[in-house]
């Protein structure tokens, strides 16, 4: 009504804009300037998103592509070698610092020099004025190692089982063969360390805990305690023997590894001995065909997606983080789906529509806007500290004072995010329920179906796409949230996955890794922000595509649902 009144007001004003009594053109009435500023605002918004996505996409996709390695001779005759990483115009401030005159067209390049163990840094800025010569030697190698990051330089000699050869191109295939063997050894070693030793450690721990449990239940003087102690010490002895055997095996492999090594040499001639087993990948950076490059690119992606992180998360893969994100999101959906659907069924189908329900609805809408960190604080205080410690006291007294459920874990994280996304699901489900035509319900009821039968067979199936959309949107939101997770169980490096081969296979109390937190951790807490950046970009690309995929799926379902109803009505 109000706005209808506005119309005469507008008429009163319009003589101000249209020049009275004139036939001439009135440009002000078209508001072209304002139209352009509005359009400009929209364009800025679109440019922002496009630039953002492009930045992520370009940086994320190019990271794993093997670039050429430059051998740069500087004007002071020092030589460096590195992958050109980034090039930028030297800004005014930096030129002020270096007090240069010819500022206008000064550029500098950031080289990834690697060899952190030799230089104590991975990257180096080189002003282009200082460069005397750049070459791309064919025999320079890019060597990825398990420690200290990549090595960029020449392969000088091979030490294979006490025999020493100078490296030449003919030896490359031999080195590749040895590398394959060494990698196989490394995998065995990893299995021995992680699986076998891990399970023995786990069993030893269990023995200690079960003894403590008996002590707590029956006391130290009881007969039960003594018999358990005897039987356990026998078991422990056996386990310790096993442990010794495995340790011996490991020792043998390590000794063998030490026999196969290469001596590397950087461009300035510093030598460095590296075990072949510590090399992950090596390639002559300037002597690759396109297919070889693609092969390296793909193998790096595979490593990224399937391996565990190395070097404080800035190298290796993100498999545990992917797994953690998936497991947590899945658990969250399992929790939030029934709760959200139940609550909205109550609000829509059962509750009397009155003031109270509309107030509740306002509250629920409101809760969707409550900051996620508040949910995180609640999750920590209520789930981990309140519920968790109670659970620990009742079910796991033998672990005390170490918490089991009394600290952050994947279950609490999923519950917290379930609460966080509950309003989203309730709102979406309610909308979906409201979209089911009343006539369908009435028809069903008129045919004699009970209320529950109507809901189960008519309302829910019809509302399902809408509910699914809500759930998927909730999943997308949950997968992207980091702040609350920082409080309820996400860690930078989880020793074990929440699901593994040790009984009871699913460990909802374990802390976990998360792609979003991985970004935060690597971007902010790595030894060198520059070294972590490529990894962060790739992780970001992965996370965004994951969330984008979920959103696209939700939108797809929504549009299909719309079509269905536009036909149905």
């Amino acid at each position: 009504m109000n706005s209808l009144k506005l119309k005469p007001k507008q008429k009163q004003r319009s003589p101000g804009n249209v020049f009275s009594g004139s036939k001439g053109i009135n440009l002000a009435s078209k508001g072209e300037k304002y139209l352009w500023s509005m359009g400009g605002a929209l364009i800025i918004g679109l440019i922002m998103i496009a630039a953002f996505l492009l930045l992520i996409l370009v940086n994320g996709l190019k990271t794993f592509y093997p670039g050429p390695v430059h051998r740069v001779t500087l004007t002071d005759n020092r030589v460096i070698a590195g992958e050109p990483f980034r090039r930028e115009k030297i800004s005014q401030d930096q030129t002020l610092e270096t007090s240069r005159e010819d500022t206008c067209s000064a550029w500098r390049t950031l080289y990834k020099t690697g060899n952190f163990d030799l230089y104590n840094k991975d990257f180096r800025w080189v002003d282009e004025q200082d460069i005397k010569q750049i070459s791309e030697p064919k025999d320079i190698f890019y060597i990825e190692r398990t420690e200290w990051g990549p090595f960029i330089g020449y392969i000088h000699e091979l030490n294979l089982n006490h025999e020493t050869f100078f490296f030449s191109r003919e030896r490359l295939s031999q080195l590749k063969k040895e590398h394959k063997a060494a990698q196989a050894r490394r995998n065995i070693l990893k299995d021995l360390k992680k699986k076998e030793m891990g399970s023995i450690n786990h069993e030893l721990d269990n023995l200690r805990l079960s003894l403590k449990r008996v002590e707590l239940d029956h006391g130290k003087d009881s007969v039960r305690y003594k018999t358990t102690l005897d039987s356990l010490s026998a078991k422990r002895k056996k386990l310790e023997e096993n442990y010794g055997e495995i340790a011996d095996k490991i020792e043998i492999i390590i000794k063998k590894d030490a026999k196969y090594s290469v001596v590397l040499k950087d461009v300035s001639g510093i030598e460095k001995r590296v075990n072949i087993s510590d090399i992950i990948r090596f390639y002559p950076a300037n002597n690759l065909t396109l297919s070889q490059k693609t092969g390296i690119y793909i193998s790096r992606w595979i490593e990224f997606l399937t391996a565990e992180p190395r070097e404080a998360n800035i190298e290796g893969g993100v498999m545990p983080a992917i797994f953690g994100t998936f497991a947590m999101t899945l658990l969250m959906v399992i929790i939030v789906a029934p709760l959200g659907v139940m609550a909205s069924l109550y609000l829509k189908e059962y509750a009397k529509q009155g003031k109270l329900v509309s107030m509740v609805r306002i509250c629920v809408n409101n809760l969707a806007g409550v900051p996620s960190i508040v949910y995180g604080a609640f999750g920590l205080g209520f789930f981990a500290y309140c519920v968790g410690t109670t659970v620990d006291r009742i079910f796991f007294p033998e672990y005390l004072p170490n918490p089991v459920y009394g600290t952050g874990g994947i279950l609490w994280a999923a519950l917290t995010l379930a609460l966080l996304t509950l309003p989203v699901v309730i709102v979406a489900t309610e909308e979906a329920l409201a979209a089911v035509p009343q006539s369908l319900r009435e028809g069903s009821l008129a045919c004699g179906a009970s209320k529950w039968q109507t809901i189960k067979n008519i309302v829910l199936p019809n509302a399902l796409p809408g509910i699914m959309t809500g759930l998927i949107l909730a999943m997308a939101r949950g997968a992207g949230e980091v702040a609350p997770l920082m409080l309820v169980g996400v860690v930078k490096l989880a020793p074990d996955l929440p699901v593994d081969t040790i009984f009871p296979f699913i460990h909802p109390e374990r802390s976990f890794m998360h792609l979003g937190f991985h970004i935060f951790d690597v971007g902010f807490q790595s030894r060198n922000a520059e070294a972590g950046k490529p990894m962060v970009f790739v992780t970001t690309l992965l996370l965004i595509s994951l969330i984008g995929l979920m959103n696209a799926f939700a939108i797809h379902i929504r549009s299909r649902m719309k079509k269905k109803y536009s036909v149905g009505q």
Partner: protein, 870 residues
């Protein structure tokens, strides 16, 4: 599904029984119950978050709670009490008397325990000791001083090692005659033993005069201990002695060197009440009985000087008590006028004192009660206990002024000594008649009151009361400063600047999308903008902090000039567009037009990059960062820029106001192209005039001393509010845009049709018809965006620098509520003070967003009703 529907009429017609199957009824009822109960429960659980937050923060505001009182009598103290001690677990109490005797008894029952014998040859004439009373010193009538170490040794032993034949003291404690054994959980016992070890006497007074006042501190490491005491002898000689003892690592022998100096003489009529010394031995205070305090600066041990003489009491009053609080930064002073004040040592360079420090009264605890006779500080923290002349005793936290315990020993019964446990949970007093009262109480958060969180607090070492957030630091004596005001300010600042950036883009973009874009373009544009909403904020934070922040820092001038160049280019673009003949303009309307606008914006961005240097030269003396840091230049350049839009508006209003008729006559016969050219001329004219006006304004403002650098601009730091605002824009723009666009689209089409039919242009329709109708929806969109901006966490954690400041400087960082919770809560001790304060921060955040969202929701509902009527 179909089967089900069709089956029921079948069963009805075929003559089978018409009753509904019991299973169906049961299932229906069950579903009814489960959904109702479950639904209500879910809603309650969600609402329970607030209840839980309140529950977690409530204990902060509760005072001390008395849990237990023990009342008994011991033999009356037959001499003046020098000091009292009570161990951590309230098992044992000790009293040191002036006649050289020690008394020990069980703290809860008064059961006597055999005391150690101190065999002093001389009469004790004075006494002093460290704040924790573990290191004490006796001054004797013959001018010597003996130091001693007092300790309650506590040790946990297993049941097996418990000695036989223990005498029971109460249900928990028993004794073997020397130590007290208390049962603790896990079948273990705690053994508490009192130990006192005295050292050989040291001669202090040069003339062997009696020491009348003494204070003693011990510092340094265990291998290299430094013992210091300040003493006043009968002849008013003030002596400062340092004993350095070193243990030879090879021989294990101790070697002590004594250095003694005399401080400058004080007036002869001095009546020494007491002398105080700091642990670093850089200050000695001598207090006269009339309340005058002489402060010596002994920072340089060889050349001490009298730095300040000040009277801390009003005239006619006598000093009743004086002492340091833990940390030795505040001085507690009590007088016969029943005053109880705290003085800080404040740096001020006014030259009143010779070392630039001043004793300033910071707080008064004058409850109009009786004068304080006994005072004891707690070892750690800022709590202290007092006993008053009228028999009242209380435990108070100095900073928060929270009363932790308050009770009356008995009407006008004078306390002879008081003791406080280190954990501030037990208070023991002994009266002249031998009555002992032990109060056990709980005060888990003594430092927090409503006013320490939301009002200015004067902390030690600060020149004035401030809002400060500083939750942790290295040293033990450190007092956490937990004011939420800087954090709330940080959240508001971040939200304000990000909305300043986001609202115009989102709202203008939404209007354009809904009113001026074709359906096809809109179907691409809108989902694209919505996609922005699904970018995780951690990604935005990363990009903002690690990519954008360094980039903007390098190209700050170019970034700033963008805010000028883009609007200017758009205006130029629109002016050129007007030059197009009508039929071509109509043909190009829609997608080609938006493409042209996009081109203009891109061109503007490129131009901005190149104009950066020039812009910097023109307005900011060539270097923006130096300029904004007050290093170079004056404020005129920016003042000019800021005055420009204002004076442009003013000038054009003037032209429309006074010259309208003239202009109308002038342009009456113009064709479209002519009008367009005239428009350009007009705008140029306005711009030139406005430039002159702005220059004048800037010049005058500069003379008046106005400078934007003192307010919204200031020193540049890399991670600043500009970056936060930009990154948060990504998070907020899509929300505001989507809701506003929905609101605009929901305006019924017949309104538009009517307006256009009456001859209004699309622009007039949009601005005078659609906008007012959708105003409430747009408002609610902004509110919801604001709610999101206030609570956004990862962006502010990563890009805001996290410094708790209280200024509006856009180039400075901030610390938001949400970021503080995210960063500090994982490390906060469960149920500790910081933990609860952070929950309070969460509650505040919850409340802010709840209010904002509720307003938005109510406005939206009203709007919905309104549009439904149209």
């Amino acid at each position: 599904m179909k089967k089900n529907i069709t089956s029921s009429p079948q069963s009805a017609t075929s003559g089978r029984k018409k009753t509904t199957s019991r299973f169906v009824i049961l299932a229906d009822r069950l579903a009814d119950r489960i959904i109702t109960i479950g639904g209500i429960l879910v809603i309650f659980v969600v609402l329970g978050i607030m209840v839980f937050l309140v529950k977690e923060t409530y204990p902060l505001f509760v005072g001390g709670i008395e849990t237990d009182t023990h009342n008994y009598s011991v033999p009356r103290p037959d001499s003046e009490i020098l000091t009292m001690g009570l161990d951590d677990n309230k098992t044992m109490a000790c009293i040191l008397l002036k006649n050289g005797l020690v008394r020990i008894f069980h703290a809860k029952t008064g059961g006597p325990l055999p005391p150690p014998i101190l065999s002093f040859k001389n009469k004790i004439s004075s006494f002093g000791g460290s704040i924790d009373q573990n290191h004490i010193a006796f001054g004797f009538a013959d001018g010597t001083v003996r130091t001693a170490q007092v300790k309650f040794e506590s040790q946990v032993i297993a049941l097996e090692n418990l000695p036989q034949n223990l005498k029971k003291l109460d249900e928990r404690d028993s004794t073997d005659g020397l130590s007290v054994f208390s049962q603790i959980p896990g079948n273990q016992y705690r053994k508490v033993t009192f130990k006192i070890t005295t050292q050989d006497p040291v001669k202090v007074s040069p003339n062997d005069n009696a020491i009348i006042a003494l204070d003693y501190r011990i510092g340094g490491e265990t291998e290299k201990k430094t013992q210091v005491f300040a003493a006043v002898d009968k002849d008013q000689n003030i002596i400062l002695s340092k004993i350095k003892s070193r243990v030879n690592l090879l021989t294990g022998k101790k070697r002590a060197t004594v250095k003694t100096i005399s401080l400058p003489k004080l007036p002869d009529n001095l009546q020494v009440h007491s002398v105080l010394l700091t642990e670093k031995a850089d200050m000695v205070l001598v207090a006269d009985k009339n309340g005058t305090v002489y402060r010596f600066n002994t920072h340089n041990f060889k050349s001490p000087f009298l730095a300040e003489t000040t009277r801390l009491l009003s005239s006619d009053n006598q000093l009743t008590t004086i002492g340091f609080l833990a940390g030795e930064q505040s001085l507690v002073v009590g007088g016969t006028d029943s005053s109880l004040d705290i003085y800080f040592f404040i740096h001020n360079e006014t030259g009143e004192t010779s070392d630039g420090k001043n004793l300033v009264k910071a707080r008064s605890y004058n409850a109009g009660r009786s004068s304080v006779t006994e005072f004891t500080p707690v070892q750690r923290g800022k709590s202290f206990a007092v006993a008053r002349k009228n028999g009242d005793a209380s435990v108070i936290h100095a900073t928060s002024e929270k009363t932790l315990l308050d009770f009356s020993i008995g009407k006008n019964i004078k306390s002879a000594g008081i003791a406080l446990t280190p954990r501030v949970d037990g208070f023991l007093t002994i009266c002249d008649n031998g009555t002992v009262i032990l109060k056990e109480f709980l005060a888990p958060h003594p430092e927090i009151t409503f006013s320490t969180i939301f009002e200015k607090v004067w902390y030690e070492g600060y020149p004035e009361p401030t809002y400060t957030w500083q939750s942790s630091a290295g040293s033990d004596d450190y007092e956490p400063k937990l004011s939420l005001i800087p954090l709330i300010f940080g959240s508001v600042k971040a939200a304000f600047y990000s909305l300043l950036f986001a609202v115009p883009i989102a709202i203008l973009g939404a209007i354009y999308t809904s009113e001026f874009l074709g359906v096809k373009t809109k179907n691409i544009v809108k989902p694209t903008m919505e996609m922005m909403a699904s970018i995780p904020s951690v990604v935005l934070g990363f990009i903002a902090a690690l990519i954008l922040a360094p980039l903007v820092e390098t190209w700050i001038a170019a970034v700033l000039v963008t805010f000028v160049v883009v609007p200017v280019f758009l205006v130029i673009g629109s002016l050129l567009w007007q030059l197009l003949p009508q039929h071509i303009a109509l043909q190009l309307d829609g997608t080609p037009k938006i493409m042209l606008i996009a081109l203009t914006v891109v061109a503007a961005l490129f131009a901005a990059e190149n104009f950066g240097r020039l812009f910097e030269q023109l307005f900011f003396s060539g270097n923006f960062k130096a300029w904004v840091n007050h290093d170079i230049g004056d404020g005129r350049g920016l003042l000019f820029l800021m005055a420009m839009p204002l004076s442009m508006t003013f000038t054009s209003l003037f032209m429309f106001g006074y010259l309208r008729n003239f202009l109308a006559r002038l342009t009456s016969g113009f064709t479209q192209v002519q009008a367009a050219i005239f428009d350009i001329v007009k705008l140029l004219f306005i711009a030139v005039i406005a430039a002159f006006i702005s220059f004048g304004i800037a010049w005058i403002a500069d003379i008046l001393g106005l400078d934007a650098r003192n307010g919204i601009l200031g020193a540049y730091v890399q991670r600043n509010t500009l970056i936060v605002g930009f990154a948060m824009g990504f998070a907020v723009i899509p929300i505001i845009y989507t809701i506003a666009e929905d609101a605009l689209t929901a305006v019924p089409n017949h309104l538009r049709a009517a307006s256009l039919g009456c001859g209004a242009t699309p622009w007039q329709t949009a601005i005078w018809i659609v906008m007012p109708t959708a105003a409430s929806g747009i408002f609610s969109a902004i509110m919801i965006g604001m709610g999101r901006a206030v609570g956004e966490t990862m962006i502010v954690v990563m890009a805001a620098g996290n410094t708790p400041l209280l200024d509006w400087n856009i180039f400075n960082g901030l610390r938001a509520l949400s970021a503080t919770i995210a960063v500090e809560l994982p490390e906060a001790v469960k149920e500790g003070t910081l933990y609860r304060v952070l929950f309070l921060a969460g509650l505040v955040l919850f409340a802010i967003t709840f209010v904002i969202n509720t307003i938005a929701e109510l406005v939206r509902l009203k709007y919905r009703k309104q549009t439904a009527m149209l």
